[in-house]
């Protein structure tokens, strides 16, 4: 009986610690976010760093996002054909392709790709700077690390992701077009007309809103985990893993939340 009681006590203690550390982490993330907002409003903005990051996160991710989009569009056209041909609804394929790409696939896949590529790089770079005291050096050189390292990256993420998604939308639709026209013998003009007539502003807009939010999540989590890296190389590796895992999960979670918000409109 005593053993049972003590193990129950130990279990509840562990559970309490787990819940406590969860809420503590949330508190720290919120604190980090508020610091970002405060320093963004009150201190210097490094436009040249922002531009560098915009190119790194946005422009340099174009090949990855482009490839992901074109293959997704192609697969989507093929799979839709398999299903729709069973009840003679092949003409709906352009509509399904454009809707799926703009509302869902382009933003989510671009988000996940950029999280793996740029989010990890941000966490590794800032984490290395943290453990090698470069961030401390910045502070003693009268430079606020939030303004120099964090804010330009977050803004670059927020702005570059929607642009990447617009490119992804076009390439994804093109992928579907190539399959339908070249493989499934669709009329090219009719395909394009169907696509153009069917797509609405809200479809593209909701995808861009998602992209902006994902851009924020990816860069914010990368910066947060990098900035809080501890120890040496192991700590940097851990921060990179945390950054990719947390931003990927948050992308999927926010995707649902934003989708349900636009669903009600």
């Amino acid at each position: 009986m005593t053993r049972l009681l003590s193990s129950a006590l130990a279990l509840s203690k562990r559970l309490f610690n787990l819940i406590f550390s969860f809420f503590y982490s949330i508190g720290e993330i919120v604190d980090f976010f508020l610091d970002c907002v405060k320093y963004f409003i009150t201190e210097k903005f490094y436009f040249n760093i922002f531009l560098k990051q915009f190119i790194k996160i946005g422009f340099n991710s174009l090949p990855v996002v482009g490839l992901t989009s074109i293959f997704t569009g192609m697969v989507l056209a093929l799979q839709s054909y398999t299903g729709f041909s069973r009840f003679s609804a092949e003409s709906a394929i352009p509509n399904v392709v454009v809707l799926s790409i703009t509302r869902e696939l382009a933003p989510v896949l671009a988000g996940l790709m950029v999280a793996g590529r740029s989010g990890a790089a941000i966490a590794a770079e800032i984490g290395t700077m943290k453990v090698t005291e470069q961030i401390d050096a910045l502070k003693t050189l009268s430079t606020n690390p939030f303004n120099y390292l964090i804010i330009p990256r977050i803004l670059a993420g927020i702005i570059s992701l929607p642009i990447l998604v617009i490119v992804g939308d076009i390439i994804g639709v093109l992928g579907g077009y190539l399959i339908c026209v070249n493989l499934l013998n669709f009329n090219p003009t009719v395909y394009l007309q169907n696509t153009y007539n069917f797509v609405q502003f809200i479809d593209v807009f909701s995808g861009l809103v998602k992209a902006s939010v994902f851009g924020f999540l990816i860069t914010f989590m990368g910066c947060y985990h990098g900035f809080n890296a501890k120890g040496g190389a192991q700590g940097v590796g851990q921060s990179t893993t945390y950054s990719v895992v947390s931003s990927s999960i948050l992308i999927l979670l926010m995707n649902y939340i934003i989708t349900s918000f636009f669903f009600r409109l």
């Binding site: 770079e125 003693t140 050189l141 430079t143």
Partner: protein
Amino acid sequence: MRKKKIIVKNINKSFKNKVVLKKLNLDVFESESLSIIGESGSGKSILTRCIVGLLDYDDGSISFGKLDNIKTLSDKEKMNYMSKFGILFQNSALLDSLNIRENLKFANKKNSLNEILSEVGLPQSILEKYPSELSVGMQKRVGLARAILKKPEVLILDEPTTGLDPIIARQINLLIKNLVRKKKITTITVTHDMDSVYEFADYVAFLKNGIIEWYGKARKINQSKNSSMIKFIKGIN
């Protein structure tokens, strides 16, 4: 007449359950070179980080000139306070995404870089190189150049000779000695290296288990009766 520059009064610092600094008291005097020595984990680097403002201490106070307790400074005031220090970090901490010119310009945009490079014994050809292209000794020299370029009130040297071979370590010690003597700058050096102490320290503080066990003139260090310090100096564990 010695004039106090930094007064550390009864400061405590602990991490979770580990107490690192225990009611520590220390005075740093203007234009003097103080070396803080002690074994690894004795709290030397934590103490200097508290003095610079990179780390908050739990209680006690650190005063700098007319500033009473640096813990009470606002973010902006703390940033200004930190700019009074020039720091040579243990790993030099040069910004590796910037070349040497950009690294040095970060510290002071106005000063001539050629002058400072010749002071630390580096050729101008390194200006366009990146930190990763330099040897550890050269990185230390650039770190030192960056630290003095901003004309700090206090120079902090964190393990200036760690990771260097004896010949380069000697060169760095001589370089620091010449700079400290020439510029008459208040210097705090955290070191394991007794050669650094003998070379350029005026005063020495021996730190053990978070307290100053011995404080005195560097030239009297070998007359000390403190057994822990004697063991440390002789390299006996």
